[in-house]
């Protein structure tokens, strides 16, 4: 396991007590905590060279530009890409999906087309496609899950046809924790119809495991900075240059242009064509620092740490009376997120009772209403673990759940 004794002091928030008690943060799937290194890097930008990029020839602007662009390279190599211009900085994974829908989707989807998504997606990987097919009068179909929360095998073959343009698939379910065999699935898809493009929602994967876009076979990959120790307001769209280079822009205005005349505009090259206006410079710098932090731990070790925690959590929770755990019960293909329900205790009430002991879990549908409908539950509790969590946190969670159960009995 990771040396949490060394990691925890890096997170200022974990050193603070609330009502005299420490914080037990089990909601990193929603947003991770941020280490001092990331906060300092952003602070450093604002304190020492907080000026705009690309525009100035003065030293400070050159420094800011250099840091911003080197952040792009850092993020690119973190996911195995050698092409920094395949990294487009956006606000978050949601915006990345919307960008693809508004540019690639606008050009490539028509009334004959169909798009395939899954019932386990976050709303961010459903709603933009719903809107696109509505605009284009196209079709949106879904892959279903098994009772254990894995994608049902064999359905892809039945759902893909010559009119399928895109498959929008999550790498890791933010509720079930299921790690989809994405590379394998993409291989099957491309064998059936090589023209199908694949968008992978990696918001729950990039923070937690080694991702290599070269081995994945995807065409688009999206993730958010704030779920991987980085700041809010910065996210990433990785997209193959050959796809993006001729697409129309997403938003228009400053920075994304090469030449502007009163009656026409020549757009800039990728990635700048898709980054209109002054970007979140401090955010990109903070994200690069987060990447360095994760790299220093080693993503394989991060994954092993989380696998051990989820195994421990599963073995405790599945043995408890009147507790239903959703998703695969094997840690090997499961991320460190555990959704569950306790009989007789509504998730809101569970979360509120746990909060008495500063144990932060999420309650609700976690932006995955179709999945909850599929599971035939209105809501669930969700605990998730990251590099700063320990087995003791799991113990405290179990203790808290028992307390809540007794309270509502």
């Amino acid at each position: 396991m990771l040396d949490t004794k060394k990691i925890i002091p890096d997170f200022p928030i974990l050193g603070k007590k609330i009502n005299g008690k420490p914080l037990i943060y089990l909601d990193s799937t929603a947003s991770s905590l941020k280490p001092a290194q990331v906060i300092r890097a952003m602070d450093d930008y604002y304190q020492r060279y907080g000026v705009n990029i690309f525009r100035g020839v003065y030293k400070l602007s050159e420094t800011a530009t250099e840091k911003y662009e080197s952040a792009r390279s850092t993020v690119a190599s973190f996911i195995g890409s050698k092409e920094a211009n395949e990294i487009i900085f956006v606000r978050n994974a949601t915006e990345a999906v919307n960008l693809v829908a508004a540019t690639w989707g606008e050009v490539n989807v028509d009334s004959q087309s169909n798009i395939i998504s899954t019932v386990m997606e976050h709303h961010a990987n459903i709603v933009p496609w719903q809107q696109l097919v509505k605009r284009k009068n196209a079709k949106l179909n879904y892959l279903d899950i098994t009772e254990e929360g894995r994608l049902q095998p064999g359905q892809i073959e039945n759902k893909i046809n010559v009119n399928t343009r895109l498959i929008a698939l999550t790498y890791v379910s933010n509720v079930l924790g299921t790690i989809n065999p994405v590379a394998k699935i993409i291989k099957i898809i491309k064998e059936i119809n090589p023209g199908v493009k694949i968008l992978v929602d990696a918001a729950q994967a990039v923070p937690h495991m080694k991702i290599d876009v070269n081995n994945l076979g995807a065409d688009f990959l999206v993730f958010s900075g704030h779920k991987m120790l980085g700041p809010t307001g910065i996210g990433v769209l990785w997209a193959k240059g050959e796809i993006m280079k001729d697409l129309p822009p997403y938003q228009t205005g400053g920075d994304m242009i090469r030449e502007v005349y009163l009656d026409r505009t020549v757009f800039n090259d990728i990635p700048h064509r898709f980054e209109a206006g002054t970007p979140h410079i401090a955010g990109a710098i903070g994200l690069a620092e987060a990447v360095r932090y994760l790299d220093s731990l080693g993503m394989d070790k991060v994954r092993r740490h989380e696998e051990e925690l989820v195994e421990y959590a599963l073995s405790n929770l599945t043995g408890m009376k009147e507790i239903t755990v959703y998703g695969p019960h094997t840690a090997g293909d499961r991320a460190a997120v555990v959704a569950f329900n306790a009989k007789g205790v509504h998730p809101h009430d569970m979360a509120q009772i746990l909060d008495r002991d500063n144990i932060c879990i999420r309650s609700g549908h976690h932006c995955a209403m179709p999945l909850h409908t599929r599971l035939q539950i209105p809501a669930s509790c969700r605990a998730s673990f990251y590099i700063y969590n320990t087995k003791k946190d799991v113990d405290l969670l179990i203790e808290g759940i028992l307390k809540a159960k007794i309270f509502f009995e």
């Binding site: 509504h346 008495r356 309650s363």
Partner: protein, 131 residues
Amino acid sequence: MDDIYRENILDNYRHPKNFGKLVNADIEEELGNPFCGDKIAVSLKLTGTHKQGVDRKVRDIRFNGQGCAVSIASASLVTEYIKGKSLREIMALNRETVLSLMGIELTPTRLKCALLSLETVQNAVKQTFTG
């Protein structure tokens, strides 16, 4: 320490008043809480006829649905409170009414749970104006 799970809240959660559904209701409505997917459905019987408009009173009311302690207790208290009240009076109710019925303070997120039942009832009442 939060103080929302007072005895009256827990009582109304465990044994909600007016739980169920009225047959031959005059108006019905169902609303969800977008944050958690919880749903509350209400059915009401009114006095008088359409002609009396907002002067019609609530003769009986039932609610059902799934929800947390806050939303169920609130639905129990709100439905009990509005029995016998006119539609005009019901439309004048607001979050202060609900909070004083519950006698607790709530964070913005839980306030949404608490207000769901009143919102559902008021949406139901609005139907009588349009339909």
